[in-house]
Symmetry: C2
Subunit: 136 residues, 2 copies
Amino acid sequence: MQSSIYLNSVGVVRKSADKVLIEIFDEFTDALLGLDGFSHIYVFYWFDQNDSAEKRETLQVHPRKDPDNPLTGVFATHSPQRPNLIALTLCKIGSIIGNKIQIEDIDAYDGSPVIDIKCYIPGSVLDADVRLPDWV
Amino acid sequence: MQSSIYLNSVGVVRKSADKVLIEIFDEFTDALLGLDGFSHIYVFYWFDQNDSAEKRETLQVHPRKDPDNPLTGVFATHSPQRPNLIALTLCKIGSIIGNKIQIEDIDAYDGSPVIDIKCYIPGSVLDADVRLPDWV
């Protein structure tokens, strides 16, 4: 049975000509304590520009918008059209000043709602053990 | 400014003595097309047992519940107490039959709501470039 879940954004992506910032809202700044010990973070944001019933009902796409790629289920892609519009990007931290995390880059728009940040800890998956389809 | 966001679960974690399954709800099964080309997936689920105001207001924890670890902001951890209760685990696929993905293991409870699945594509971050705090 489906259950409905509520999120609140915890910050916002700020992109300008010379820098990319994750700006965390004041009430969540305490959640950044110790983040400066890490070099990389996972940034979770929301594909808010696709928050329509039509785009959330899209279950299959041609990956990378290339019609030569086979029709593929969105759970087998990182498509910005999917039932829950969660985006995940691994980012390198430049600096953290107050509630602002400067990062090298992110494939989000200026103004995208940030919904979570997690530290990046390298895992135990070896590249040699990873299998990928041809379109990747 | 905060924005409120709605998710619907797309499936559920099923754990039994002999196997671990991600069971995708029928209406989302088409989103699995082509997933069998991948060896690993990111499973996004919801820490539903912590969905209380108190636990969602927890901004700092001692990582791994070890009081010897320094008090740390939840965004610098993978703590199951955080403003948005998103869990992320990288899982190895065993088999995919219909709407059921058998995986090796997941640090979720039986019944945890699944909110997204994404294919795993190895990234370009080299372990040598990763910096971590002492508690990790």
